[in-house]
């Protein structure tokens, strides 16, 4: 977006009155600010994707192969036979409209094609035309239409205006999940080389270099060393993590966004400090240096190709189990896809906290535990010495990330950790949290710069709920457990509710964590002076004694 409109101006463009013309007769208009640039030839070539060429979505000619219709129809046929979800969701929608006002992009744009039902109808109309008898015979009367260039462009525009957040699927009486339709839609578009560079660039980087940001091994080490310097300045403690170390007990994998830009880097410092304090026998990997998976926003196959590195690296290094950092879609993939694609991980052991002895039975097969589960267990067992007052300047609310909410159900663990590290916690209103949480507006690979208007509009419902608790309780910090959230919500909050900051939960943990041998902290991880009353630190409830550094220590329930 060349010039960012003011919030009031942006709001004026939201119009919920549907156009006079029916949706099939309303041609797509590819509006600046609402789309991402097309994938470059270089990125597509790196992973061997078809029709690699540079192209511009605003130009008439998308440089498609001559038989593009045939490719797509065959692509649909193949996917109808491979995915029950897709076939079923093409067939059973009754268009009751319950999903219509549940999509953040619809709420933020008013564009009827952002109603989940209509987004899916973009695909269904073509499905009916080529795969159902009524559609073939009755055509438009049966809601069927030809797959022409207009339709293709509409697909591209709207399947990249869906963040696959699955909020609609919570409300659908048949559980129709638009993400399934969008995912198939994007797979099909990829058959023609029609991806966006913001997704494809990271995919190519991740494939070759191990992470979305394309950080090479020495850069990863350097970035972490910068953080270590900061940690030493703040706490006086020298933290010494290891990389690609064989024989470590645990492999730690987190989204590369945590290594790169704040506020993600503060979360990363939080991990480093926590692991140091615990004396955890763990290693980072520069090869499996990405927890997230932009391949997941591209195609099933690409997602599997990227995901394979995690188990492969765990096997090579000979670790016992894997710990995963704070991320959203990463955890949908790890929970619902990884084992199916690249399992069984029979060379690993069921995750067991060496500090508390707790066995994470809920990860019995994948052997991968979410750090928030790990930390909640530490706190419950009194293994962390937490001084909540260090977070007293914060009035915190928690944003449930789409994927950990609706693709996992991680609700209480992060809240438990926050409540044990902060004295002031407030929930956003019902209908905007937990399984009904709103997307940040930039998920599924859409957090580019050129589609800023789309992102801000899609981020409006979340930001508006944050604004509500800001005005009501003075909330000034939005905590979350997702790397994309940390980047995207920072932008969204800056725009809609500038007084609310964004933080990862482990930043809160590290700020509250009283480390053995630390010097008196003058600042928090962000370098802001601590505003602490001059008195002895009170020890947080549940955190009885300072942590004991006994690897394999007994459970202390």
């Amino acid at each position: 977006m060349a010039k960012e409109p003011k919030p009031e101006e942006l709001l004026k463009t939201i119009n919920y009155t549907p156009p006079k013309t029916g949706w099939m007769d309303t041609p797509v208009e590819i509006k600046p600010g609402m789309f991402c640039w097309g994938a470059k030839a270089k990125s597509l070539n790196t992973v061997g994707f078809p029709n690699a060429r540079d192209w511009n979505p605003t130009e008439e000619d998308w440089k498609l192969p001559d038989n593009w219709q045939e490719i797509l129809i065959e692509g649909i046929r193949e996917r109808l036979s491979k995915y029950r979800s897709f076939r079923l969701f093409m067939d059973i929608c009754v268009r009751c409209g319950a999903c219509a006002d549940k999509c953040h992009f619809y709420i933020g744009t008013g564009d009827p094609k952002n109603m989940p039902v209509l987004r899916a109808e973009l695909m269904r109309s073509v499905y009916r035309k080529y795969f159902t008898t009524p559609g073939k015979v009755l055509g438009k009367l049966a809601g069927a239409r030809e797959l022409d260039l207009q339709v293709l462009k509409e697909w591209w525009y709207y399947f990249f205006q869906c963040t696959e957040c699955r909020r609609c699927s919570v409300f659908c009486p048949y559980g129709i999940d638009t993400a399934e339709v969008t995912m198939v839609g994007r797979e099909l578009l990829n058959l023609l080389g029609l991806n966006i560079e913001w997704t494809m660039g990271p995919v190519a980087a991740c494939y070759m270099k191990g992470n979305h940001l394309g950080l090479e091994p020495h850069t990863i080490v350097n970035n972490i060393e910068f953080m270590l310097d900061d940690i030493e300045t703040i706490t006086g403690i020298k933290v010494t993590p290891t990389f690609n170390r064989k024989g470590a007990e645990i492999l730690f994998v987190t989204p590369s966004g945590d290594l790169f830009a704040d506020p993600g880097t503060y979360t990363c410092m939080g991990y480093l400090m926590l692991f140091h304090e615990l004396g955890l026998d763990y290693t980072w990997s520069t090869y499996a240096s990405e927890g997230g998976n932009f391949g997941f926003f591209t195609s099933n196959e690409m997602a599997k190709r990227l995901n394979s590195k995690i188990y492969a690296e765990a096997k090579r290094l000979g670790v016992k189990w894997i710990l995963g950092g704070e991320c959203g879609h990463m955890w949908r993939v790890l929970n619902q896809y990884m084992d199916t694609w690249n399992g069984p991980a029979d060379f690993l052991e069921v995750p067991k906290s060496p500090i508390t002895g707790t066995v994470f039975d809920n990860a019995k097969s994948t052997k991968m535990t979410h750090i928030i589960e790990f930390t909640a267990d530490l706190i419950k067992n009194g293994k962390l010495n937490l001084d909540k007052r260090r977070n007293d300047h914060l009035k915190v609310t928690f944003h449930d990330s789409c994927n950990t909410a609706r693709g996992m159900g991680l609700f209480e663990e992060p809240r438990y950790v926050i409540k044990n590290t902060c004295n002031h916690f407030y929930e956003m209103p019902d209908g905007t949290t937990r399984e009904q949480t709103f997307c940040c507006g930039s998920g599924s690979g859409l957090n580019a710069g050129e589609d800023m208007e789309l992102r801000l509009k899609g981020g409006l419902p979340r930001a508006n709920a944050a604004k509500y608790v800001h005005e009501k309780y003075g909330v000034n910090m939005l905590a979350n457990i997702c790397a994309i959230d940390r980047a995207a919500l920072t932008t969204s909050m800056n725009y809609w509710v500038p007084a609310v900051g964004v933080t990862g939960v482990h930043e809160l943990v590290a700020n509250a964590l009283v480390m053995k041998g630390e010097k008196k902290r003058e600042t928090n991880l962000r370098g802001d002076p601590l505003q602490m009353p001059e008195e002895e630190p009170e020890v947080a409830a549940g955190a009885a004694a300072p942590a004991e550094k006994t690897a394999g220590g007994k459970a202390n329930v």
Binding site: C96, P112, M115, V221, R316, Q336, Y337, S365, G409, Y416
Partner: protein, 330 residues
């Protein structure tokens, strides 16, 4: 237009019966051939569609989790909204099928000045949907009295419950009223809520008009233009015992009712009405969230090209060594 054509179609169906039965005396066609053909189409179609869905693989484990996952023992799991076992899934499905659990969550999103976005409770669709489906089920059960010798006890119980208000003669069935009211509501919301009107297809209006016509013809027969119920039962028993015989003295209204129901049956498998079967197969609802506990198998999982560690080290060995990162090959 989208509503008008389906409306005309239903009128046309009614006229077809009037012409066919009254003028052309095609009793056997409308009374026997069409109902049998419709029933066969229904059964074959439903089986075909269900088998087609059922034989399509579920490659990934994709439940939509709507509550707390199974996690540490001291955190209470939401066993129904986020089941980790079969028991929870069954309860979740029962609630979905019998109580429309997901629709019960429905909210009305509204943008106010400020801006302030609100999410108010909105249960009308749920209420109308539930009333319609339950009424329909009761009505179908009541109709079993036409297809059995005597009247089975369950049917009598349903009839008793349904008429407990004891109003009118014959007694008014509550479900008759609810059915017509709910279908009317579903139609009205479709044409009055701009968004719903915008997404509606002819295929959304047709079943509504058809159901309304079926309901109206039934109500007319029971309460107003009464048919000879003994003759009707003789006729329906002939159908069900596969010894179909046209019984004289049954009014055209009955044939209209029968033909519209036949149309519904024949139309059912090829339409969105198949959501009745589909809901049971929906992978976002009928799977337990246990994919970290038990490996879900994708029958078409295939090997993919990956960038191996060896290839990676080949690309970055010198840089790794410089940064002090251990390598496999020195």
């Amino acid at each position: 237009m989208k509503a008008f054509l389906p409306f005309l179609a239903v009128i046309f169906l009614v006229l077809l019966v009037i012409v066919g039965v009254k003028t052309a005396s095609l009793y056997f066609l409308f009374g026997v051939v069409v109902p049998y053909a419709a029933l066969l189409t229904f059964l074959a179609g439903v089986v075909y569609r269900t088998v087609k869905w059922g034989t399509t693989p579920v490659p990934f484990h994709i439940p939509t989790t709507c509550g707390q996952q199974k996690t540490l023992p001291w955190i209470k799991q939401s066993k129904i909204e986020n089941p980790s076992g079969t028991g929870g899934v069954i309860v979740r499905m029962l609630l979905e099928v019998f109580m429309f659990r997901s629709l019960f969550r429905n909210l009305k999103t509204e943008m106010h000045e400020g801006p302030k976005i609100t999410y108010g409770s909105d249960k009308w669709l749920w209420l109308a949907g539930l009333s319609f489906h339950w009424s329909f089920l009761f009505i179908v059960i009541r109709h079993l009295r036409f297809f059995t010798q005597g009247v089975p006890m369950p049917v009598q119980i349903v009839e008793g419950l349904d008429s407990f208000l004891q109003i009118g003669l014959p007694l008014v069935y509550i479900t008759d009223v609810l059915f017509l009211a709910a279908v009317t509501y579903l139609f009205i919301r479709r044409v009055t809520i701009p968004q719903v009107k915008y997404i509606s297809l002819a295929a959304d209006y047709f079943p509504l008009f058809l159901l309304l016509a079926i309901g109206c013809s039934g109500v007319l027969m029971r309460y107003f233009l009464r048919v000879d119920i003994v003759s009707v039962k003789t006729f329906t028993m002939g159908l069900v015992s596969l010894r179909p015989k046209i019984v004289p003295g049954i009014s055209t209204l009955f044939y209209i009712h029968l033909f519209l129901i036949s149309t519904l049956f024949a139309y059912f498998p090829w339409s969105k009405l198949m959501h009745m079967g589909g809901v049971f197969l929906s992978p976002t609802r009928n799977l337990a969230n246990n994919s970290r506990i038990k490996r879900h198998i994708n029958p078409w999982n295939y090997p993919v090209k990956v960038h191996t560690y060896a290839e990676y080290e080949e690309d970055f060995r010198e840089k790794m060594k410089m940064a002090g990162v251990p390598v496999e090959k020195e």
